[in-house]
């Protein structure tokens, strides 16, 4: 019932670049690119990158950030904030603010998309009217 022993069997302590690339369906190029952007900093054994669990966790955060539409630059800033002093209320509030701003953006975007849809539907109806023999 030793938790860490259990986890050790399921989740390795260290990952190669192709481990992560296949797990998350990213190219190795992408992982190296993220590194140049300061999102990951794996250790090295010689030249070869060795990713820790922490690296993997950060990668997950990166991908989650992307899913909700943050840029890599945004994501880096937020990761850096968390690193400064994890759990620090001030940092959390900053991120929270960013999140809410982003939600605002997304809601505006949603409205735009909805407008585009009604626009196009209107156009479609006109065109269909032109094509309808029983006009």
């Amino acid at each position: 019932m030793n938790q860490s022993a259990e986890i050790a069997e399921i989740v390795p302590r260290v990952f190669t670049i192709s481990d992560l690339s296949s797990e998350f369906e990213l190219t190795t190029r992408t992982l190296r690119f993220y590194e140049t952007r300061g999102l990951l900093e794996p250790r090295r054994r010689g030249q070869t990158r060795l990713y820790s669990r922490r690296d993997r966790a950060r990668l997950k955060l990166v991908l989650q950030g992307k899913r909700v539409g943050f840029s890599l630059t945004d994501i880096k800033e937020m990761l850096d904030l968390y690193d400064l002093k994890d759990g620090q209320a001030t940092q959390l509030r900053v991120s929270l603010k960013r999140f809410k701003e982003r939600i605002g953006d997304l809601e505006r975007q949603k409205i735009d998309v909805e407008e585009a849809i009604t626009d196009l539907n209107r156009t479609c109806q006109i065109v269909e009217g032109m094509l309808d023999p029983g006009s």
Copy 2:
């Protein structure tokens, strides 16, 4: 009550590049760029571009297309279709198909956006929970 006379006073027969750029709030660069992309082909008086009402109408279509998310390439294809034989049912059906496909895209996009919003809201709630003193 001569319609064309009335219109002639309100809408000029010919437009300069800055007329159109200010009317539609585009830069002249943009109008020239659209020309290189085959979206507009104004006549020339010497070197100077002279846009007809038809050019202006096409420009309106371009902008409408952009508003609903078509790329300039898409828009050109569609404009070309219209030009082939305006009012031809076949062409209309083709465009109609494109429109419906685009509507599908947009609806998927809308779902994505909605998911991102709920994602972020969830995250916000977690963070707020961490900040909540009465936790």
